[in-house]
């Protein structure tokens, strides 16, 4: 703006003794006094705190960040943790597709699920109930006894005198209380007013005569072992026997059986535990976690019934009844839970959870189905004899139902790995945010730095010498000032980038390009901001010097024979510093905005380097589906600009109380 008018009293005289302000009385200096006033301004202090927190985050970014800025984690792409999903309703209210490859699918086709139900169990990361059953927990392990086994439960009252205590081992026939005896070998669990007997399923072989064969199915009462003293161990329940080196084990859950074709190579070892998803042979994988047994050309996976508690967080309590799909232990952060009530569909490698608007058609009255499974239908297409599709989508045909799944519009996987989710490449947003703070804050300091190093001396010289020097120097500034700043920066950016990219090693420009590459593209942004930022301060300084050089103290200094340089640096400069500091602080948001703008339009930092500008740009592209990717960096950018604005306002009030409340 080329203006002949001063609208603010910045160029007024510069007497700095604010005798009218009672706080300035006493021996405190100008700056100490200003600091006192600044710290009494609540918003300025808030701004200062935000800036300091940001600076700390930026400085300690490698420590605070969870991952590097370019650690791509495809399966985390666009994922968000629960609190973020709850923050943005759009993330919740849409179909969801989960990749189930490598995980065990626990939901069944067409099953209605509720919020928090576990859908997929990823190998090794967590355990889920593979059958409905009863959980028993002791100090170090917990056990799942399937519902097919009738667990002995006895109601006890407070007055019942028990003959056993909690977690006692009992053998069949031992007295539990009164005249009630244990029907089988097991461990006593007493919870509230109930006594449950957890069946014993593992017996030591040493000193016994094994009466059963490996993989033999046994019925209740079959003799399993004969001890040295002649007592027999009877099978308390029907099940499958596994004879291992040390133990005879009764598997209550029927084992999975795989026939290995001739010529196939078995890729697991006998007796080893395998995780769900482990390849057994060829391309056959085990759907469950358990112990593998290889007998001839068959592989048996014996489902585990007992697990070490370890450090995991147990989500079930002792003797609780659970259903398939409920989470038992949450050992890691990679579980997938249904994040809304809806309907589950399983197709190929995907598990799709869709909101409640699924069309269901009951097949009970023997009508003829006109559609095939997974066929795509549009509205009005017949599904069965007298039923047409009322939504566009994919058909799923089960034994009893025809379901139409609406066309999927995208999904947000619920993952807790990253605190505020991941971007479209599965990079941690939080880590990129704290590294991006470096770029923004550097822009906030480079702008004023260049201004003060270039603009201030320029204005000082121009204003102090006046005359023709002043005239020419200021004409140049006027001309540069009239040049549209953003256009100039955009042109300069394009110029720097391509020049540096095409020069030979050894030249100055090449060195600049190397610096830029090393700094992730930050260097040229700062060069562009620096080259355009100094003019404003040059003008302001000149105006201040013009009035300062007419003051008595300058005349006095001149009369004392001080040199020009001394007068400028020791007398004029300290007296005009206040308005300069105010002005530069108030301009900092502009520098931050320039950097964000440039990065947003793709002329800023180089690709993997995060800047809030290019993070918003990336996020804005997927705003409809994943708003969190744009809104978190936008919030960060807003906060830092907000903080600098308030700090600038506060500094102005503190350094120049005459302006307080004027603007």
């Amino acid at each position: 703006m080329t203006s002949n008018v001063t609208t603010t009293p910045e160029t007024d005289n510069n007497d700095v003794a604010y005798l009218d302000d009672p706080n300035s009385a006493g021996s405190k200096g100008y700056w100490a006094d200003a600091w006192g006033r600044l710290t009494r301004n609540r918003m300025a202090v808030l701004g200062l705190i935000i800036i300091i927190v940001n600076m700390l985050l930026a400085i300690f970014a490698p420590v605070v960040a969870i991952e590097g800025i370019d650690d791509q984690n495809t399966e985390e792409a666009n994922a968000a943790p629960a609190w973020v999903i709850n923050l943005f309703p759009i993330l919740k209210a849409r179909d969801e597709t989960f990749d189930s490859s490598g995980g065990e699918v626990l939901a069944i086709m067409g099953q209605q699920v509720n919020e928090g139900d576990l859908l997929i169990d990823f190998a090794g990361d967590n355990l889920t109930a593979s059958v409905a059953g009863t959980v028993f927990v002791d100090a170090r392990r917990f056990y799942l006894i399937p519902d097919t086994i009738e667990v002995a439960r006895f109601d006890i009252s407070d007055s019942t005198r028990l003959s056993v205590s909690n977690l006692d081992d009992v053998v069949a026939g031992d007295t539990l209380f009164g005249d009630t005896t244990a029907p089988y070998d097991g461990v006593v669990h007493i919870v509230n007013n109930q006594l449950a007997l957890q069946p014993e399923t593992t017996w030591r072989r040493d000193g016994t005569e094994v009466q059963v064969e490996n993989l033999q199915t046994v019925a209740v009462g079959d003799v399993l072992l004969v001890r040295e003293d002649g007592t027999e161990v009877l099978a308390p329940f029907a099940g499958t026997i596994f004879v291992t080196r040390n133990n005879v084990e009764l598997a209550l859950i029927p084992p999975l059986e795989f026939d290995v074709p001739e010529g196939s190579e078995i890729e697991i070892r006998d007796g080893r535990e395998v995780d769900a998803g482990t390849v057994l042979f060829d391309d056959v994988t085990t759907p469950i976690t358990g112990d593998a047994f290889i007998v001839d050309n068959k592989i048996y996976i014996r489902q585990s019934e007992q697990w070490l508690l370890g450090d995991s967080g147990l989500t079930v309590s002792d003797t609780q009844s659970v259903a398939a799909g409920d989470a038992l232990i949450d050992t890691s952060n990679r579980n997938i839970y249904a994040n809304m009530s809806g309907t589950v569909f399983i197709g190929g490698d995907d598990v799709i959870l869709t909101a409640s608007d699924v069309q269901r058609y009951d097949l009970s009255d023997n009508s003829v189905i006109h559609v095939a499974d997974e066929q795509v239908v549009s509205i009005g297409e017949p599904l069965a004899d007298d039923v047409t599709a009322n939504i566009q989508g994919t058909v799923y045909v089960t034994d009893s139902e025809v379901l139409v799944l609406p066309v999927s519009t995208g999904y947000t996987p619920l993952r807790n790995k990253y605190p505020i989710g991941a971007d479209y490449l599965g990079r941690d947003l939080w880590s990129r945010l704290v590294f991006g703070a470096r770029v923004s804050l550097l822009a906030a300091f480079i702008g004023p730095l260049v201004s003060i190093l270039v603009g201030m001396p320029y204005g000082l010289i121009s204003g102090y010498f006046g005359g023709a020097v002043d005239n020419w120097m200021m004409r140049f500034v006027d001309l540069m000032y009239a040049f549209p700043t953003l256009l100039l920066i955009i042109l300069l950016m394009a110029f720097f980038r391509s020049s540096a990219a095409s020069t030979q090693p050894g030249t100055f420009v090449y060195q600049m390009g190397e610096i830029d590459r090393a700094t992730g593209g930050v260097f040229f942004i700062f060069l562009g901001i620096g080259l355009t930022s100094w003019m404003r301060l040059a003008r302001l300084t000149r105006g201040q010097v013009l009035s300062a050089r007419e003051t008595e103290y300058v005349t006095a200094a001149r009369a004392l024979g001080q040199s020009t340089g001394q007068i400028m640096i020791r007398h004029i400069l300290p007296n005009i510093l206040g308005p300069i500091v105010i002005s530069e602080t108030l301009t900092i948001p502009t520098y931050i905005r320039f950097e964000a703008f440039l990065s947003f339009i793709g002329l800023g930092v180089n690709a993997p380097t995060p800047s809030w500008g290019n993070m918003i740009s990336d996020g804005a592209a997927v705003l409809r589906n994943y708003p969190h990717e744009a809104l978190f960096p936008a919030l960060a950018l807003f906060l830092i600009m907000f903080a600098f604005n308030f700090l600038g306002d506060g500094l102005r009030d503190a350094l120049d109380p005459r302006l307080r409340g004027v603007d």
Binding site: S3, A482, L491, L623
Partner: protein, 336 residues
């Protein structure tokens, strides 16, 4: 006064001249050219293409020819443009119907070779200006009343709320406000179209995105300026004289209080034009700002020159009008 205006306009053209010179030579110093993205042509083919667009001439000749095409009006046959190299922005059919006066030919686009830059302006410039005007309306319609209300009710809840919002306002940029509005009003509440251009509803979010920060600046400035005016002696005199409050407000306070506000209209125009780069990208608006950013990446020399000159012209013109309007608003200001 007349001399001042003449000097301002001369200065304006000097600035535009420097802008064109700097842009042209900076742009040509950038390695790479508009034909880099084509398949590997033999050198002879590239030479032919360059000769076709006059890029084989010395730089200074190219510069003069380009500026000449824009500045110097020509008289040609009437009718639609014969080629993309002869597409003029303004055409006046001269009396007699045998010739037409044409002015401002920005040349053919070097990358998008079926179109001329003039043609792109015709199509896209209107959109950018409509957006800019809508944003100015938002800025003034929100900023001015807010500033006035805050000043007249100083240190009341209105003042604090208004200035609180204004401080938030100056801290938001198009790239923070745009996605936020899109999410809230477009995705979540489904009140407004998320992006695109065409209907009245499409204007609201981009205009607000572009204008809100400026509204905040105007509000702060209006308040500050009015507070200063309210303390002036002539207001006290007017009150003492027994003028009614409304008359004092309109005739004395507002007229004098508006002067500083007018001074920021220049920079605000600059903001609205340059802000359009980002806003157009966020809301997928087919304006010239998007074309400009793309043209730099493509080294589309004629489009870069055309748009830079155009933006610079708008900004410099706005500043010149502001400079001239001071004297009209405040007769105490003497022109140098």
């Amino acid at each position: 006064m007349g001399r001042f205006i003449a000097r301002r306009i001369l200065w304006m053209f000097l600035v535009l001249f420097v802008v064109s010179l700097v842009t042209f030579f900076l742009m040509r110093a950038v390695p790479g050219g508009p034909f880099d993205k084509e398949r590997d042509f033999p050198d002879s083919v590239i030479e032919n293409i360059e000769a076709r667009f006059g890029l084989d001439q010395p730089l200074i000749i190219q510069y003069l020819r380009y500026i000449g095409q824009i500045v110097v009006p020509t008289v040609t046959e009437p009718g639609p443009p014969r080629s993309t190299s002869e597409d003029y922005l303004f055409t006046i059919n001269l009396p007699g119907g045998e010739s037409a006066l044409r002015w401002m030919n920005f040349g053919p686009s070097l990358v998008n070779r079926s179109r001329s830059v003039t043609d792109m302006f015709r199509e896209n410039l209107g959109v950018t200006f409509q957006l800019g005007i809508a944003a100015i309306i938002v800025a003034v319609a929100i900023g001015l009343p807010a500033g006035i209300v805050a000043a007249l009710n100083r240190n009341t809840i209105w003042d604090y709320v208004g200035m609180g919002i204004a401080t938030v306002g100056v801290s938001v940029t198009a790239i923070t406000l745009g996605p936020f509005l899109q999410y809230l009003l477009g995705v979540e509440l489904k009140l407004l179209p998320i992006s695109g251009w065409g209907t009245a509803a499409h204007y609201i979010m981009p205009a607000f995105t572009l204008g809100f920060a400026q509204a905040a600046i105007i509000a702060r400035l209006t308040r500050a300026s009015l507070l200063q005016v309210l303390n002036e002696d002539y207001i006290r005199t007017a009150r003492a004289k027994g003028l009614n409050g409304r008359r004092i407000l309109w005739m004395h306070v507002l007229k004098n209080g508006m002067i500083p506000v007018v001074t920021v209209l220049g920079p605000i125009t600059a903001f609205l034009v340059t802000g359009s780069f980002v806003t157009e990208q966020i809301f997928a608006i087919p304006g010239i700002g998007r074309a400009y950013v793309q043209s730099i990446g493509n080294r589309d020399y004629t489009l870069i020159m055309g748009t830079t000159l155009l933006f610079a012209f708008v900004l410099v013109l706005a500043n010149t009008i502001v400079d001239i309007s001071y004297g009209w608003l405040d007769p105490r200001i003497r022109y140098e």
